[in-house]
């Protein structure tokens, strides 16, 4: 069992659902990103994914897409993002994950990038455009560095492929709640149960569920169904509408 998985299981023994939140590093600014992380950790989130912005984020919807582009326009670079990660992992004890697209790893050299993530104190990575079939260079590098590759299940994934993906996954599995990209509305219904049952059969790892989780009602619905609720675009939307100061109360209100 990886360190990340152990920590998730320990936290899970005290909480019936864990919270994972998301930021785009450097959006709306590096200073604000740090304030947001501090507020989220103080509000009790159990783990966080920090997205290094990419110019072509094909799996992201309008909210995260715009944040990626604004962060890049404001001068966010891979180097500054990893420095930021180092700062927050030293400051806070919860596990932090890197989220980004494969090109940033490939361009820097996959093994070198993974080593830099490790040096920054990150616990794992989510690379949404890297299916296990293409991860021949990434997986051994992650294993060597002791970082967990977080893979993704989707409702359209057949059972056999769920098992195939599970074989490469460590830490936990990120289940996408529905079709489409991030940040759009999801109707949480009984249909989800059948999908999550398929996910449970495919892996013994903890399950996280994201895409469209935006309020306490959604998080409540997921209690007893998954281990981790992932709130992504909703906090970005909140920051856009009401500013960084609103983050703490919002996150505390989720659970």
């Amino acid at each position: 069992m990886s360190t990340l998985e152990t920590r998730i299981r320990q936290a899970r023994s005290k909480q019936d659902i864990l919270l994972m939140t998301h930021i785009v590093i450097g959006y709306p600014s590096f200073a604000a990103s740090l304030e947001i992380v501090d507020a989220m950790v103080a509000a009790g989130v159990d783990l966080m994914e920090m997205q290094i912005p990419f110019s072509e984020p094909m799996a992201d919807g309008p909210v995260i897409l715009a944040a990626n582009q604004k962060a890049l326009a404001a001068g966010s670079t891979v180097e500054r993002c990893l420095e930021f990660a180092t700062t927050v992992t030293r400051k806070h004890s919860i596990p932090f994950l890197c989220m980004s697209y494969y090109n940033l790893l490939l361009r820097a050299g996959v093994a070198g990038f993974v080593d830099r993530m490790q040096a920054a104190g990150l616990a794992g990575a989510i690379v949404p455009d890297l299916p296990p079939e293409e991860a021949g260079e990434y997986l051994p590098a992650m294993a060597r560095a002791g970082l967990d590759p977080i893979f993704i299940f989707s409702p359209s994934t057949p059972d056999e492929r769920l098992r195939h993906i599970a074989a490469s996954a460590r830490g936990f599995v990120y289940c996408v709640a529905r079709k489409g990209v991030t940040g759009l509305h999801t109707t949480f219904s009984a249909e989800l149960d059948a999908y999550l049952a398929r996910c449970r059969t495919a892996t013994k790892l903890p399950l996280a569920l994201g895409f469209g989780v935006q309020d306490a009602a959604d998080v409540n619905f997921l209690r007893g169904k998954v281990d981790i609720a992932v709130v992504g675009s909703a906090t970005l939307r909140l920051i856009d509408d009401r500013g960084v100061a609103a983050v703490g109360a919002f996150v505390r209100g989720l659970r």
Partner: protein, 418 residues
């Protein structure tokens, strides 16, 4: 018929290029497409159905025109022009779109989406959708909507919904991202008609398969007309589909030199261009679901590209062409905006041909090289599209005062309306 250019490696790889770097939600859809495409290739009736459709709807086989005056002017190789501009909707785009339309019908889907840069692929897709009775949405960068309004007009008349994409550089690459986002939400009802030989497997193979009709015809025509194979074939390269289409029938004929011409924009030293394979500015990356040479910075962020021809103004290039560059089978050159406009003027005045600005890149390179070849040699330029769509850009390039007056008067006539 099977594809003349099938991947030489598993998972859709050509050498080290290609693959399918997909968000998990789309993986099952790509498997479904791969299966449907394989079944179509295995069915001899499918290619016949395709050829018949293209003959009856899109003027195929397109003619091979001898450019007698240009040949005399340059005093070198005999210059022939393959007339893809005579396809219905005015470009080779129709070949791919009608082929994918037949495939969509076999798959039983009712809605098609597409990206478009210059608007040619969007118009072709909207046309196909009108003919086959599909619902149609076209994604087009806001910048391109501005510079290609006439195509937007026709897409809407054809019944398509045109969505201006306001993200990123607001051009072709952003339209592609947006089309993938739509597909990720609507794949049960929808097929994404990708317009060029790029993107995740099986698109590069599939688009090349349909475009290979150009090369098949050309090979037969050129041998019948001249009794020999061409010494060189010139094609412009944006995503690479017209080039792969015309090159595909000659890959094993090593005496036939294949020349891909990219957008040199303001000139390679200015770095304001879209030359992925002819410049030293591109590097291997993964974006939009596939691995190829991209114009990107040292972090892996994509750069802004530039070309007078919207259809060549793109960050990536077909993985098949990237491989054919690395193996040395295709030579890559670039033509600057200025060279392209000059070549266009020449083709218009000397041959009465009106190539699209994209296709004029191939003319520009052929004009540079023709005088150095002996008169026995035959060279072929693939005129991938017609230039009517470029009237605003070309009129600006030529600085035609009468045209400007006409536009002013036309604009004023709209001002007066209540």
């Amino acid at each position: 018929m099977t594809s003349p250019l099938s991947p030489d490696q598993p998972r859709g790889y050509y050498g080290k290029f290609g693959g399918a770097y997909l968000p998990e939600i789309l993986v099952a859809t790509f498997r479904e497409l791969e299966t449907a495409f394989a079944a179509a290739q295995a069915d001899p009736a499918f290619w016949r159905e395709y050829e018949t459709l293209m003959g009856e709807y899109s003027c195929r086989p397109t003619p091979l025109t001898f450019a007698e005056n240009l040949t005399r002017d340059f005093g070198g190789a005999r210059i022939f022009v393959k007339r893809e501009d005579l396809n219905h909707t005015g470009a080779h785009k129709a070949n791919n779109v009608m082929g994918q339309g037949l495939l969509v019908r076999r798959m039983g889907k009712k809605r098609v989406i597409a990206e478009t840069g210059a608007g040619q692929h969007g118009v072709a897709t909207a046309t196909m959708a009108a003919k086959f009775g599909f619902e149609c949405t076209i994604y087009m960068g806001e910048v391109d909507v501005e510079r290609q309004r006439p195509n937007v007009f026709w897409m809407e008349r054809l019944g398509a919904r045109v969505v201006p994409v306001k993200d990123g550089s607001r051009t072709l690459k952003d339209a592609i991202n947006e089309a993938f986002r739509d597909w990720a939400a609507n794949m049960d009802s929808t097929h994404y008609v990708l317009g060029t030989a790029c993107g995740p497997h099986p698109f590069p193979t599939m688009v090349t398969y349909f475009q290979s009709i150009i090369g098949q015809e050309l090979r037969k025509q050129v041998v019948e007309r001249t009794g020999r194979l061409p010494r060189r074939i010139y094609a412009c390269v944006g995503g690479g589909s017209n080039a792969l289409g015309v090159f595909s029938a000659f890959l094993d004929d090593t005496a036939v030199e294949l020349v891909g011409v990219e957008a040199g924009g303001r000139g390679l030293p200015t770095h304001r261009h879209a030359a992925r394979l002819a410049s030293q500015d591109a590097s291997i990356g993964v974006a939009q679901g596939y691995r190829t040479y991209f114009l990107q910075n040292s972090d892996g962020q994509m750069l802004e590209t530039h070309s007078v021809a919207a259809g060549l103004d793109y960050i990536g290039v077909s993985p098949i062409l990237a491989h054919l560059r690395d193996t040395g089978r295709v030579r890559f050159e670039s033509a600057t905006d200025a060279e392209v406009v000059a070549a266009l003027a020449l083709a218009v005045r000397r041959e009465g041909l009106i190539p699209a600005l994209e296709s004029a890149h191939a003319f520009a390179q052929a004009c540079k090289e023709a005088p150095g070849l002996p008169p026995d040699d035959v060279i072929v330029i693939n005129q991938s599209g017609r230039g009517d769509k470029d009237i605003f850009t070309v009129a600006d390039a030529f600085g035609d005062p009468a045209w400007e007056d006409f536009i002013r008067r036309k604009a004023a006539s709209y001002e007066r309306k209540p």
